[in-house]
């Protein structure tokens, strides 16, 4: 059942303590904001421990080279240097190589070769950050330069240099081939189709670049062997377990604390060498060691995103019925296969490239390769590569519309999965939980004034002006995921939650997921409030500390609300059920004679006879004679194993104007209608969407991590890696529909990555639409002025 709501006027956001604030779902200001607006956030680099030392990493200047020698003598002689650690030192500790999240290994410090520019070579620990940097200059490394593998299209050529000579028996750069769907069935549909369109497209390498870079503070206490590790991590529990496995420190002796995080977007999922080096530095020096990377280190060495070369094909009838989609992908994974995704899925959830359409057949093949570039690959709010999948299918549908001479909206409407087909089993193995796409598309058209825009475009075209209208309709798959299918390094993708109601009726909820700005302290308090009727301001949300929260896999892939949100709702319901038993004892009646209204159990037919949650909490902890089997508290815990993923969707319309003289693209309007199921805090949801839309404009128009032929990174600072400012983005126009998830306890589907996933094709489709008078049907991102101008001259070129 889908609810379509008209686009609301701008609404007020009541403060968390205002008399008119909702106790449960609805707009309230964020509970975390009072500290942030006063500059009292507590980010990693704000933490200072007594006697703390500072680490800095020496990095490789080249993409591929053999290490001949490393001389640390002068650095060690620096009066403020306490330690210099090299790969050879780590080999002695069996820590030179660490397992990645994709069953590969990654060098912590290079021992044999350097394999990408910016790779970690040595670690200095000194008294302050300036001295640590000074000492890096005193380390003398001799390299023998080797030919690098930079052009991913040549990585599998016979005779190409082999990146991973450390892996025994390795003679090429091939990592994996992975397929989904039925190739033979798909080929048969293609062979019989009236129309087939084909397009190669590049989703270039980009970077999440959160405003706070990555860092860690390791504090190893040698007497009791306890390691306290402060980290910029989205997944503190997974990190603790992995550290126990890697470093051999018993898991109960490790406490991972993830303080306020200055943006993550997937950049802070993996374990980077710097984190391990901080631990080694602390063990070696006996003091706390802080390591915080600079911006170039962040852009050049930590988890990048995308880097897919995709060849897409669509088979259709002449009247616009899409029959099948197939694609071949070449995936650049860099020097180590360190992508973070469920074990069974080396290409993440790319196999949702069938999009929002009812197909007869589909097939994809993805080939992953090593190159001499930084490792990573699943990051930047991508929902485990749904971003690449949505870009492929939404770009291909526009290519087909162009071939058929059909309006791109009409073509989409004709092919949507129909509401009565849900739950919908697609051709690559997903079961879409719920959807009703047409009302969402129509609302976006209404907000945009679609017909008027097309009329305006026709008038402008007649005058020779370049105006484009781009459509994107995406279906996401988030909330990973069912344990029987999904794990990361053997850890099932479930999350825990604990709720305790204190004797006075205030509560604490403890989460395994970790906010990087999403507002968990507000949203999760609102879920408890909705279920128990305790006001959000009376609920403390604890997260980001493994000593004080239940186990779970953390925040990425838009999984906090779908997984942890479900855990919190079910935990709250357990508390409510227990409260019913205690209330019955207090009221001297039977539990089945009680009825719930938000915050209170009362006797059916006698609303005056009841007990509030606060009264029940006091009873539970007090002297009430408790029923047999009920212990004296009002606490509960749940670990939630999702039965399926959730499938948020949305319709986006982008309007651009292009300057004919310069090729500069101006995003004039952007309409986004999202359906994330039940909406917990509309203010926070809109904020998540706005941020993702800016990401999409950035990727489509500006952001690009490129390399020269020698493997020098050309996007290694904010001088070169361009991110939208307030001048490059419009005032976003949002709307929503509500199609709850049928299997989620509150019907919520997740929203964190929808806009990042859905917006890039809308922008590129608008650019290509504007350039249609030049006979163009495709151009690759980033649509920079120079590249657009080239496309206008009939020379559109891929960025790599």
């Amino acid at each position: 059942m889908t609810t379509v709501e008209e686009r609301p006027a701008r609404e007020a956001n009541p403060s968390a303590t205002a008399a008119d604030r909702p106790i449960g779902f609805g707009r309230i200001q964020r509970k975390e904001d009072p500290r942030f607006v006063r500059g009292k956030g507590n980010y990693l680099d704000d933490i200072v421990l007594p006697g703390m030392l500072h680490g800095a990493i020496l990095r490789s200047p080249m993409a591929h080279g053999r290490i001949v020698s490393i001389d640390t003598t002068e650095a060690l002689a620096h009066p403020k240097v306490h330690a210099v650690i090299t790969g050879t030192d780590l080999e002695g500790l069996n820590l030179a190589w660490a397992p990645t999240l994709s069953a590969d290994v990654q060098a912590v410090l290079a021992t044999d070769k350097v394999r990408f520019q910016g790779q970690e070579v040595a670690f200095v620990v000194a008294e302050d950050r300036y001295s640590a940097r000074d000492a890096l200059e005193l380390i003398d490394v001799e390299y023998e330069q080797l030919d690098p593998v930079i052009d991913v299209r040549r990585a599998l050529d016979p005779g190409a240099p082999v990146v991973r000579t450390d892996l025994e028996g390795r003679t090429d750069n091939h990592i994996f081939d992975w397929e989904a769907g039925d190739a033979a069935e798909t080929d048969a549909v293609f062979a019989a189709a009236d129309v087939v369109v084909k397009q190669e497209m590049v989703y270039p390498r980009v970077h999440p670049a959160p405003m706070e870079t990555c860092g860690a503070i390791a504090d190893y206490e040698p007497i009791d062997g306890k390691l306290t590790l402060y980290e910029t991590t989205q997944a503190p529990h997974a990190h603790r377990t992995l550290f126990a496995m890697v470093a051999g420190i018993p898991e109960h002796k490790i406490r991972v604390i993830s303080p306020d995080i200055g943006g993550g977007f997937g950049n802070k999922v993996g374990i980077y060498p710097g984190y391990i080096l901080a631990v080694v530095g602390s063990i070696v020096t006996g003091k706390p060691v802080k390591w915080v990377e600079d911006r170039s280190e962040n852009l050049m060495s930590t988890s990048f995103a995308r880097d897919y070369i995709m060849t897409g094909e669509v088979a259709a009838t002449r009247d616009g019925k899409i029959l099948a989609v197939r694609t071949n992908v070449l995936a650049d994974h860099g020097a180590f296969n360190a992508t973070a995704q469920p074990t069974k899925y080396p290409a993440g959830f790319f196999h949702i490239f069938t999009g929002s359409y009812d197909l007869q057949a589909a097939h994809c093949k993805v080939t992953g390769v090593y190159t001499n570039k930084a490792p990573g690959g699943v990051a930047y709010a991508c929902s485990f590569r749904v971003t690449e999948a949505v870009y492929l299918v939404e770009r291909m549908v526009d290519v087909l519309a162009s071939e058929l001479g059909m309006d791109p909206v009409e073509l989409r409407l004709k092919n949507f999965i129909k509401p009565e087909q849900f739950p919908y089993a697609n051709k690559t193995g997903w079961e879409y939980d719920s959807g009703d796409y047409e009302p969402t598309m129509r609302l976006a058209m209404q907000i945009a004034g679609y017909e008027d825009l097309r009329r305006e475009q026709a008038e402008k075209r007649a005058r020779g002006e370049l105006m484009g209208i781009g459509i994107s309709f995406f279906t996401e798959t988030v909330g990973a995921g069912p344990r029987k299918h999904m794990d990361i390094v053997g850890l099932g993708m479930a999350d825990g939650a604990e709720v305790r109601v204190h004797p006075t009726g205030k509560a604490v909820v403890r989460l395994s997921v970790q906010s990087q700005g999403q507002g968990h302290e507000t949203t999760f308090a609102q879920i408890v409030a909705e279920e128990l009727g305790i006001p959000p301001e009376d609920i403390d949300v604890v997260h980001g500390d493994t000593d004080n929260t239940p186990f779970g896999l953390g925040t990425y892939g838009s999984r906090s609300t779908p997984v942890s949100g479900a855990a919190v709702a079910l935990t709250s319901r357990k508390v409510r059920d227990k409260a019913r038993l205690i209330a019955a004892a207090m009221l001297e009646t039977r539990p089945e004679d009680l009825e719930w209204e938000k915050g209170r159990w009362f006797v059916k037919g006698d609303p005056g006879a009841g007990k509030t949650i606060a009264e029940i909490a006091l009873g539970a902890h007090g002297t009430v004679a408790l029923p047999e089997g009920v212990d004296g508290n009002l606490d509960a815990e749940v670990t939630y194993d999702p039965p399926n993923l959730t499938f948020p969707f949305g319709a986006y319309i982008c309007v651009v104007d292009i300057d004919k003289g310069t090729g500069k693209v101006h995003v004039r309007r952007f309409v986004a209608v999202d359906d994330c199921g039940t909406r917990i805090n509309p203010m926070i949801i809109e904020g998540q969407i706005h941020g993702g839309l800016a990401d999409g404009v950035g990727m489509a128009l500006m952001e690009f991590i490129g390399f020269d032929e020698d493997g020098n990174c050309l996007g290694g600072s904010f001088m070169d890696y361009l991110i939208p400012t307030a001048m490059e983005v419009p005032d976003w126009e949002t709307g929503h529909t509500v199609t709850p998830s049928p299997h989620h306890p509150i019907g919520a589907k997740g929203i964190g990555e929808s806009a990042t996933v859905g917006s890039p094709p809308a922008v590129v489709n608008a650019v290509v639409d504007a350039l249609a008078p030049f006979g163009l049907t495709h151009m690759d991102m980033p649509c920079t002025p120079a590249r657009v101008w080239e496309a206008m001259q009939g020379r559109p070129t891929p960025p790599i």
């Binding site: 964020r30 706005h690 993702g692």
Partner: protein
Amino acid sequence: MQVTMTVNGTEVTRDVEPRILLVHYLRESLGLTGTHWGCDTSNCGTCVVLVDGEPVKSCTQLAAMTAGHEVTTVEGMADGATLDPVQQGFMEEHGLQCGFCTPGMMLTARALLDRNPDPAEDEIREAISGQICRCTGYATIVRSVQWAAAHPAAEGTTASEVPA
């Protein structure tokens, strides 16, 4: 070398290395960690503070160069429990998510409103165009500044009146 400057209304003198950047001086010598650091190239603006009322990227300036000047950081915006209208506006209009760019954005907004109490949307966008936010997509930051412009005395005071 000894450096004396006024920070959030209080004169402070510290011994510093001549090469120390203002951002590191504020964060590490004075413990004012509300001013953040986000890039190496003066592009991101998370380090913006006011120097003599004007927004300055504190990573582009040495502490020594700031001697004799008046610095306002985010910690100097509120008057005790009373927030500056800009701070209130950011909470009202969801102008922040992770909070990392927020101090710099708010100080730039304060400087803008001090010289232009009723800025147009494009003037606000231009004022913050030297700063990057990765979370909000900027629209709610613009609305936050508009909220502050519409509530100039919203139980708040201007930064210049705020004691440390």
